[in-house]
Symmetry: C2
Subunit: 199 residues, 2 copies
Amino acid sequence: MAYYAAPLSKLIDQFERLPGIGRKTAQRLAFFILNGTDEQAESFASVLVEAKKSMHYCKICQNLTDGEVCSICESATRDKSVICVVEDPRDVIAFERTRDYSGLYHVLHGVISPMDGIGPDQLKIKELLARVNSGKVEEIIMATNPDVEGEATAMYVSRLLKPLGIKVTRIAYGLPAGGELEYADEVTLLKALEGRSEI
Amino acid sequence: MAYYAAPLSKLIDQFERLPGIGRKTAQRLAFFILNGTDEQAESFASVLVEAKKSMHYCKICQNLTDGEVCSICESATRDKSVICVVEDPRDVIAFERTRDYSGLYHVLHGVISPMDGIGPDQLKIKELLARVNSGKVEEIIMATNPDVEGEATAMYVSRLLKPLGIKVTRIAYGLPAGGELEYADEVTLLKALEGRSEI
């Protein structure tokens, strides 16, 4: 039996499609919309369409932008000789938050994952090679996630880059700041030991 | 510093306005929309506006409906002599799920809560009295939540109804099905004892 009228039921379905949103939460969100004003619902709707329409990939670094080139690639103050290669636009934000890195980025939009049917061709690797071939790049920092797929992708890309005579580095493994040794897993500890530096 | 382009940032803000959605989840949902197709974003947007526009209160029971009168009030098979009074449209669904109750409902759209500045006038109590005065009602079941505000609202409404010579009942307190005695609080246990019935 349909408990909800069709328009409400459709709205609940839409919310339920979102990741991490179950039936109960979807109902709660739908009721929140109904309790708001018409203007609020309309502005949500227009922002939704507008964001989807106007956001696309930066033609240089493949990060999300609403212009042709993203603000980082456009910036005159960034160091154009270093490119940090990440999996996802959110990883760019994570690095930007450190307020320390001043080079450029390149977003792969995924990692090589045969289990999910994702091969190198589905990633923005060609675009990275084209940037490197253009000449000004001196170092590529591979900053894919420290998991199996991220590691494999970093290895794959670095093998493509090395013959071009470019310096390829990998972000450090080790203990996270504020973490406790006691709770660190073996691999992390091993990597932290291996990567030790003089003080 | 603005890490995201304006259209994306606005979409994240819209998701963050929703109850129970924090910054991180809002970002995740916004990226999910961007990864979908244009059609998906547009259909989400149209469903959002459509639901808000077409859903309103049933003129009899104040439940949400897209017609003038909701499907329950319209139904010929429901027992029109019993009205179950609930706080919220979601409570109607909860009762409907039991597939046992065949009377009508009345949705108050809230409870008396002086702390939140909600008095009896902001609830759909007048509409309930009007239904009772129309004559056919024999019993009112007060099914507001078993908390302080729900209890106070049930008492308040029942005092208005009693002079009209109507039977007013309150849903039972007791142990929830599948619950464990050990973990029940004192009030629930006391109420379960008081409400015991012969077997």
